[in-house]
């Protein structure tokens, strides 16, 4: 899922000064799964924002709604009246949903209530960890199903750096396993360690965000 995290309330307050009627909108998909922008979080954030604006000396009226999906145009109609009535929108969906709302209700300023952070899984209750970096050149077939692009701090392609801690964790975070240690363990368990001894050439990043904004065109679906 796409994960997101609340921005600091002070940052949102900074955006909302001068506004009077604010609509806070959530999304019931990814950001609900990661407990940042679902209905529960929207209903928690709305009164918090109202209180923070009151304390800031800039009281606002806050309304809230949670869309089934904020990244599909057909679901945005559900808030058309509330959006027309608001003079600002705070979205706690991912950056994709936010931009669709900003486009759809282009006359109303939209502010982010969250930072979109990763493509992760919920590993345990209350713990999300990266799985994908959308690099556009998937190597999982070479790395025993464990991604070194998203899960190695240096996106190394040829094995672990010297920063693996004694306990097998990454030097930049003692709670994050060295993914290359896990890749080596899985390769060993399959009797395929040899597969990891081939030198992998430099990666082609041109299909990743480094290659410029993505434009995926499928002619077969356009007729």
């Amino acid at each position: 899922m796409i994960t997101a995290e609340w921005k600091p309330i002070e940052e949102m307050v900074g955006y909302l000064r001068g506004h009077k009627k604010v609509l806070v909108i959530g999304c019931a998909t990814c950001v609900a799964e990661c407990a940042a922008g679902g209905e529960r979080e929207v209903e928690t954030l709305a009164p918090l924002l109202a209180m923070a604006m009151q304390n800031d000396g800039n009281p606002i009226e806050v309304k809230s709604a949670t869309l089934e999906r904020q990244c599909e145009p057909e679901f945005l109609e559900a808030i058309s009246e509330a959006a027309a009535d608001a003079d600002a929108i705070v979205s706690v969906a991912c950056g994709i949903g936010m931009q669709l709302v900003a486009e759809h209700y282009a006359d109303t300023p939209l502010y982010p209530g969250v930072n979109t952070t990763s493509l992760s899984i919920r590993e345990e209750p209350g713990l999300w960890t990266s799985r994908c970096a959308a690099c556009g050149d998937c190597v999982l077939g070479l790395t025993f199903g464990l991604c070194p692009v998203a899960r190695c701090a240096k996106s190394l392609q040829n094995g672990p750096c010297g920063g693996t801690r004694t306990d097998g964790m990454c030097e930049i975070n003692q709670d994050t396993p060295c993914i290359w240690r896990l890749i080596v363990e899985r390769a060993t368990a399959r009797g395929r360690l040899e597969d990891l001894t081939k030198v992998r050439p430099p990666k082609d990043w041109s299909n990743s965000p480094a290659g410029g904004p993505k434009r995926m065109l499928r002619e077969d679906l356009r007729s």
């Binding site: 190394l156 920063g163 693996t164 030198v199 430099p202």
Partner: protein, 313 residues
């Protein structure tokens, strides 16, 4: 055997002499005098001097500029290049620049992650965007292809072939331990002519890894220089053992330093013993010796180890 670059380090190794390298960290300012001061202390101590590349993500004079200052002062540099701060375009451009300035020993490393970064009073740049376009093994191979084939990573040709003696790092005792020799083999296959290792204190464990490297024939293709850092106190060894990945310090050694009445003298003694021990291991072709913030100890250590004067080649 024809030489790749004809650097002093390469010649010493080719002549079968026990090589010695050490390290010079560039200053956090444009201070030529600071580099020359260190050069003055260390001149004649080693065959070549590694110049670090913004270690721990704290900005320092560039490795290439520091290397050129050393070269002009009569010390042969090993310019370090990390994959953290530059993409393949900037790296190759800097490599051509280094070659143009006469800097031919290059050590290709991944580099400390900007988030692991600085310690103590220094802040580093934890908010920087790390590049890591290529990894150290890919960089080694890029350098080799520039040198041997005269081609850039993108396939375009170079107008002439730069000469390089290519170095790489090895952490022989880091987990996953079973992969460390295989990773060394990848570095050798990619083109590493010499290897400097992470600091070694556990000679028994290091000897086991070296034996595997010898068995795989790697020591025929590359010159391995184990890293040795002069211990200065039990606290320092304890710190490295706990906090520096890949550094394993046997408890006896920590205890020995703790009991020493003169830890500095004991540290020198320990270093001399370590030099002797690694020197006896098959496949070891020299040492990469460091005395962190105590460079003035090195001339005496090298004398006592019988490694002075350095060979003329």
């Amino acid at each position: 055997m024809s030489l790749h670059a004809g650097t002093k380090l390469e010649k010493v190794l080719a002549a079968g002499q026990f090589a010695l390298t050490t390290e010079v960290g560039p200053p956090r300012g444009p201070d030529v005098d600071e580099v020359l001061k260190k050069a003055d202390i260390l001149k004649g101590v080693a065959d070549a001097y590694n110049v670090t590349d913004n270690q721990t993500a704290v900005v320092r004079m560039s490795s290439i500029a520091g290397s050129k200052i050393l070269l002009d002062a009569g010390l042969e540099p090993v310019a370090q290049m990390t994959c953290r701060d530059r993409n393949r375009i900037a790296m190759q451009s800097d490599l051509l620049g280094a070659a143009a300035l006469g800097l031919k020993n290059i050590l290709a490393i991944s580099g400390d992650h900007q988030g692991a970064g600085a310690s103590g009073k220094l802040k580093g740049h934890p908010g920087a965007k790390g590049v890591y376009d290529v990894d150290s093994i890919q960089l080694i191979n890029i350098i080799k292809n520039m040198r041997d084939e005269g081609v850039q990573a993108g396939g375009d040709t170079l107008t002439s072939k730069p000469e390089f003696f290519i170095g790489a790092a090895w952490t022989p005792l880091g987990p996953p331990i079973e992969f460390r020799v295989l990773r060394l083999a990848k570095k050798v296959a990619a083109g590493a002519d010499f290897i400097q290792t992470q600091a070694v204190y556990d000679i028994k464990a290091f000897a086991e890894q070296m034996a595997k490297a010898v068995d795989m024939g790697l020591t025929e293709k590359t010159a391995i220089l184990p890293g040795l850092i002069v211990p200065r106190s039990a606290g320092m060894l304890n710190y490295m053992n706990k906090n520096v990945p890949g550094v394993v310090v046997p408890q006896e050694l920590i205890d020995r330093m703790k009991q020493a009445s003169d830890p500095q003298a004991e540290g020198v003694k320990v270093t001399l013993e370590l030099i002797e021990q690694v020197r006896e291991l098959p496949g070891v072709k020299g040492v990469h010796l460091q005395a962190i913030e105590a460079e003035e100890l090195l001339p005496e250590i090298i004398n006592q180890a019988g490694l002075s004067p350095r060979p003329e080649v």
